[in-house]
């Protein structure tokens, strides 16, 4: 009891000039509401925390004064496990980081090890990798769209999103046999070549998918109730986004055109024609929840564009020609490879000491950095808005905790 009182006193933000600094832009609103602060635990079993995440909210009435995220409920020692198994066996473990975008995780790690080993993959492998990464980006953004709708109180868009995601997952299943954890992009190549007829199936999907984006917009994006729940809420300025290391749609939602596919192209992304979508603040302020949400919707369109270009140029070749027979002769060295995963910059720092197993693997998680911005951008919002902010940040706890 005494300890609780002490923490309450510590967290109690004093009146004075510091108050507005600590409370951010909505200090005045907080000032109006007088009363004792109360600690509210949100999670770890809360339906809108996207997994097992606990927020310790210090609330002043309905207004949140301080947010403390508690993570680690899903920690599985990915980095330590990677130090004990050969390089090619790490790939199935990378699947489980951001389990909604396994292809992108595989790609990042494969590119990192290829950089160490000096492997050059052929054009076909690169093109198929781009197709897979973009398909998975669409699938991931669809889940993000669906769950954000769930968080803000609409159930139907979730079903629409999963209807399309199902088709993407079927495409993946045809290629590699798995529906969620693909283990498809291997070091130096791919586990399987495309089955016959797959390219046509993928084209059909693109034709089918593009009109559905308008359906989502009619159904949800421009719904006034949703706009009221998301516009002008959880504003993350570009400065804040950079300070917290937020990447991907979160930083692009803040109006900054930062996309690693454009700025540091990998796997042949420089050959594709696509736009970087940024938040424009058309419904509220630049960098609010609606902007972050809309960036994802627009990115799905751009991903479809990339897939169509990739399918048109798909060259012939052997997808397994550069896969090393064994991992006994790895050059010593260290490498940092970053890729644009659906949720932002996914980086792998791999240190090799010449042995069969990596000496050290560090994963730079994009969800973790985005999550760390919530204590700043969420202060001053209502409790219900925290749910909306968290949904718009779009985290996957499997990657936050690793």
């Amino acid at each position: 009891m005494e300890k609780e009182n002490l923490t309450m006193r510590e967290m109690d933000i004093p009146l004075g000039p510091d108050r507005s600094k600590l409370l951010g832009s909505r200090a005045a609103e907080v000032d109006i509401i007088e009363g004792d602060h109360m600690i509210l635990n949100m999670g770890p079993q809360h339906p809108s925390t996207h997994g097992v995440l606990r927020f310790e909210l210090l609330t002043d009435g309905e207004v949140v004064v301080k947010i403390t995220p508690h993570i680690g409920y899903l920690h599985r020692c990915f980095e330590k496990i990677a130090e004990s198994i050969p390089y090619n066996q790490v790939i199935p473990y990378t699947d489980r980081l951001d389990y909604l975008a396994s292809m992108n995780n595989n790609l990042g790690f494969a590119l990192a090890v290829e950089k160490i080993m000096g492997i050059e993959v052929n054009e076909r492998v690169q093109t198929i990798r781009v197709i897979m990464a973009e398909l998975n980006r669409i699938a991931s953004h669809l889940v993000s769209f669906g769950t954000y709708a769930l968080d803000t109180g609409a159930f139907t868009p979730f079903l629409y999103a999963f209807r399309e995601r199902e088709r993407i997952v079927d495409l993946f299943e045809d290629v590699c046999g798995a529906r969620l954890l693909y283990n498809y992009i291997w070091i130096g190549g791919l586990s399987h070549d495309l089955p016959p007829g797959w390219v046509e199936k993928c084209r059909d999907f693109c034709d089918y998918f593009l009109p559905n984006i308008d359906e989502y917009n009619n159904l949800y994006s421009f719904n006034q109730i949703f706009i009221d729940r998301s516009a002008d809420i959880g504003v993350m300025t570009a400065k804040q986004a950079i300070a917290y290391g937020a990447t991907g749609p979160n930083v692009r939602g803040s109006g900054l055109a930062w996309d690693l596919r454009k700025t540091e192209p990998y796997s042949g992304y420089e050959n594709y024609d696509f736009d970087v979508c940024i938040g424009t603040g058309e419904k509220g302020t630049v960098g609010d929840c609606w902007d972050r949400y809309m960036v994802r919707i627009r990115e799905m369109e751009q991903s479809t564009r990339i897939i169509r270009q990739a399918l048109d140029r798909l060259p012939e070749g052997d997808v397994k020609e550069a896969i090393p027979k064994n991992f006994r002769k790895i050059p010593e060295g260290e490498v940092y490879m970053r890729t644009e995963a659906p949720r932002g910059e996914l980086g792998y720092y791999v240190v090799s000491d010449g042995k069969q197993i990596p000496y050290r693997v560090k994963c730079r998680s994009n969800c973790f950095t985005s999550l760390s911005a919530i204590p700043e951008i969420g202060v001053g919002a209502m409790i219900a808005d925290i749910v909306s902010i968290l949904g718009s940040i779009d985290i996957v706890l499997g990657e936050v905790d690793r």
Binding site: I85, N88, Q89, V90, I91, P92, Y93, D95, T156, R163, E166, E173, D174, V175, C176, G177, A178, L181, N183, S191, H192, P195, E215, N218, L219, Y220, F222, N223, Q224, I225, D228, A231, D232, G284
Partner: protein, 199 residues
């Protein structure tokens, strides 16, 4: 935002209702389209050819080399082998690889298996493949361990016994040879120092 709400109170209400109606028109349109759901126990999704489900193996094809067990990141495959006695012919696999090992145990723990498919490519005879059966639920974890070895425990015991005997025989022969060697060395010492240290 709040002030804006006050100013355009009725406009906001109208906007809320009209945009909701647009959304509802989308959902109503779907009432007249074919359903996309599958009534699972009655209808079944056909598995594609390369689906990664439960591991299956042809025991006749297995040479006991253990390449799959080494490739497994989670150690779900447990193999125990015994070297065949000299003169015992274990036959060949379908692609002509000679079998030299008795495979006493070939267990796949499906509770550990992560279905990554890394065990398939290293197999020299193509013995491991995936089953297309996806309803592999069991009540206990023990039932999830699949035993693929066709050897009975009696057979394993006899093989082990024979191996132990052979090993004992070999050890005895070795000891005898060593003793003979020592005897020979004793009877004809080359240097006196050496014989001192050995005694």
């Amino acid at each position: 935002m709040r002030t804006a709400l006050k100013e355009n109170y009725f406009k906001q209400i109208w906007k809320g209702i009209s945009t909701t109606l647009i959304g509802m028109s989308v959902t109503i349109g779907h009432l007249f389209k074919p359903s996309v759901t599958l009534q699972y126990p009655h209808e079944r999704w056909p598995m594609p050819e390369g689906a990664r489900l439960r591991i299956q193996m042809d025991f006749d094809e297995c040479t006991g080399c253990g390449a799959c067990a080494r490739a497994c990141p989670v150690d779900a495959i447990i193999i125990e082998v015994l070297k065949a006695q000299a003169g015992v012919d274990l036959g060949e696999t379908s692609n002509g690889t000679k079998k030299r090992l008795h495979v006493l145990k070939f267990d796949v723990d499906n509770a550990k298996c992560i279905y990554c498919g890394l065990c398939i490519p290293p197999c020299p005879t193509g013995a491991i493949h995936f089953d297309l059966d996806y309803e592999a639920m069991k009540l206990t974890r023990k039932e999830l361990i699949y035993h693929f070895s066709i050897m009975t425990s009696d057979e394993v015991e006899t093989l082990r016994e024979a191996d132990r005997e052979a090993k004992a025989k070999a050890a005895a022969a070795k000891a005898q040879a060593a003793a003979e060697k020592a005897k020979a060395a004793e009877s004809a010492p080359k240097k006196p120092n050496q014989s001192d240290s050995s005694s």
